[in-house]
């Protein structure tokens, strides 16, 4: 019942690595989703539609845009915001709704915990799956961005791992919150926190338009850190500030993941 040193033991009593014990649950999800791949399409389409309507459409009204002393097209400003948001949305969708369903209705984790796998393995696998889902959307979106000529630096290659990191942080925190949820109504809180983040995390306009105190608040929200990080990478303006975002997201994800393991233990190993 320990989640520390969570190592899978196979039927022959051999201990196996973290990668394999994470992989088996991902394998299960792949099997399921290979039949329902259309689910993936909506998550991909959403940010592209925003990019087209707001980035390109509204962008026509805004000839150029000044970010940190550099002039870029409005679409090039909006696109990294959508990139970060798609990673968030993909991960949150999986780590909240789907996890709640598996936890409360399918009792999937009860089945899994009867095997050598541990709550730590479940936490790690589910968060990995969530970040991969966000990552797939982001990768697709990056391709769209490059087709629209919205990528200005080789740093942009690092935008994909950055998107995975955003997925990790949001997947971990989302799943941790889900373990506290009692019913589907509670998911209003998720929407209530992701929608404002989506709108105000310097996605469509810079945070400098807000009063200073609000800027301070926005500064410490995770999506803002993700958006800023992605923008710095796709526009090629990497700074020390990027490192802060990086550390922030890693720490957030790790805390979330540890909490998930503990909560699953509380809920399921009774």
């Amino acid at each position: 019942m320990s989640i520390a040193g969570a190592a899978l033991v196979d039927a022959a009593g051999r201990r196996m690595g973290v990668t394999r014990s994470t992989g088996v649950l991902l394998g299960r999800h792949l099997t399921v989703f290979s039949r329902n791949w259309t689910f993936f399409v909506t998550g991909f389409a959403e940010p592209v539609l925003y990019l087209l309507s707001i980035g390109v459409g509204v962008g026509k009204l805004i000839p150029s845009f000044d970010v940190g002393g550099h002039t870029i097209a409005y679409a090039a400003f909006v696109a990294p915001g959508m990139l970060a948001a798609s990673a968030m949305n993909g991960a949150v969708m999986d780590a909240t709704f789907n996890v709640f369903f598996r936890l409360k209705y399918q009792k999937l984790y009860d089945q899994i915990l009867a095997t050598p796998l541990t709550t730590g393995d479940v936490a790690r696998s589910e968060i990995t799956w969530a970040l991969l889902r966000g990552g797939v959307y982001s990768a697709g979106f990056l391709v769209v961005m490059s087709l629209f000529g919205l990528i200005h630096s080789w740093w942009a290659l690092l935008a994909l791992p950055a998107a995975l990191l955003i997925g990790f942080a949001f997947g971990a925190v989302g799943m941790a919150l889900t373990t506290f949820m009692k019913s589907w109504q509670d998911f209003e809180y998720i929407t209530l926190s992701t929608v404002p983040m989506f709108l105000f995390s310097a996605t469509f306009f810079p945070a400098s338009t807000f009063p200073t105190w609000l800027q301070w608040v926005i500064d410490v929200t995770p999506l803002y850190r993700g958006v800023v990080l992605c923008r710095e990478l796709t526009t090629g303006q990497v700074t020390w500030g990027s490192g802060i975002s990086l550390v922030y997201l890693i720490v957030l994800g790790c805390l979330g993941m540890v909490l998930v393991g503990k909560r699953l233990e509380r809920l399921l190993l009774t």
Binding site: M16, Q106, D110, Q111, A114
Partner: protein, 327 residues
């Protein structure tokens, strides 16, 4: 065609040489509390290799709570528990790798097809894809589900789901099979066919620990069992021993008109070792049912219906707890 339990390696044990751990489950003073409620109140249990061991008891006796502790998914509140010689607290994964678990509620994966349920579950045990594929096909055959391999789990009948759950529990070639009410909700035919399969598994050397509230199931399957009630063990032994110890050889059941049983009990009390008054009948515990019956008739009593039968575990349970098993 008889379906053989796919014999890969059932409990390796050469004759004459005692295995490393012959004690499969060892519990002393085992307790489980939920909040302030005591579900298991200090039980002692020993299950040996190759045995079929049963927990018999009514609803809420603490059977599932005990099974979950043995399955290393529920922390022990107090007392000692060793499964396969290991402590579930510290060696949970190692223990679970060698267990097969069939929980009280079927917990199949509804997103996966029948065969996929076996494949994926095998992967949770770290088995290779190839090993799992071969094993899944054998187990489908064993569970008579080969032609349902591609079916959705939700489309299976209750009996088929139960068979699939048991087949799934065998994917890792377990040394101990834990079955929590394996046949509850099955029709008589399905129950018998399942007993048959479990018996075959036992012959292959698999240790079986099961819970049930059916005394016939306990009598059929268990070498040894404990009768559990309100979290404690009321009696322990083989089905025959228990009956011999706690009941007479035969029972004569007499039915009179409603409401008369209480009054009539006094008039036959001396004819039997013990008389039990139920709302709808009198039960006379005696060595020779027919003789006792003749004596009842000799006293001019004319029951509406009579039945002479052998004592069962149900009678043992009634005597020990004053209640019937299935309430």
């Amino acid at each position: 065609m008889p379906y053989e339990y796919p014999s890969v390696t059932a409990a390796p044990q050469s004759p004459g040489v005692p295995a490393a751990t012959d004690s499969m489950v060892h519990a002393r003073g085992l307790r489980k509390t939920f909040g302030s409620f005591e579900a298991v109140r200090g039980i002692d249990v020993d299950v040996h290799r190759g045995e079929a061991f049963g927990f018999l008891g009514p609803n809420g006796a603490g059977k599932s709570s005990t099974m979950r502790m043995i399955a290393a998914v529920s922390p022990v509140t107090a007392g000692t528990l060793r499964v396969l010689g290991m402590d579930p607290q510290t060696d949970g994964p190692l223990i679970r790798a060698r267990l097969g678990v069939c929980p009280q509620e079927d917990s199949l994966d509804p997103d996966l097809r029948v065969r996929e349920n076996l494949l994926v579950y095998g992967r949770y045990f770290g088995l290779s894809r190839r090993a799992v594929r071969a094993r899944a096909d054998e187990l489908l055959e064993f569970a008579q589900l080969t032609d349902k391999a591609k079916a959705k789990v939700d489309d299976l009948s209750g009996g088929m789901k139960r068979r699939l759950t048991i087949a799934r529990a065998l994917i890792n070639d377990p040394e101990i099979l834990l079955l929590d009410e394996p046949t509850t909700g099955l029709d008589p035919q399905a129950r018998h066919s399942l007993w048959d399969k479990l018996f075959r598994l036992k012959e292959q050397g698999v240790t079986i620990v099961l819970t049930t509230h059916y005394m016939d199931e306990a009598e059929q399957l268990c070498d040894r069992l404990v009768v559990m009630d309100k979290g404690a063990i009321a009696a322990e032994g083989s089905p025959l021993e228990l009956i011999r110890e706690h009941s007479t050889r035969e029972v004569a059941e007499l039915r009179f008109g409603v409401g008369q049983h209480e009054a009539l009990a006094a008039r036959v009390a001396d004819l039997a070792d013990r008389v039990e008054v139920l709302p709808d009948r009198l039960m006379l515990y005696t060595e020779h049912g027919e003789e006792t019956l003749a004596q009842v008739h000799g006293r001019g009593l004319r029951p509406l219906a009579v039945l002479v039968r052998r004592s069962t575990l149900e009678d043992v349970f009634l005597k020990l707890t004053g209640r019937s098993l299935v309430d």
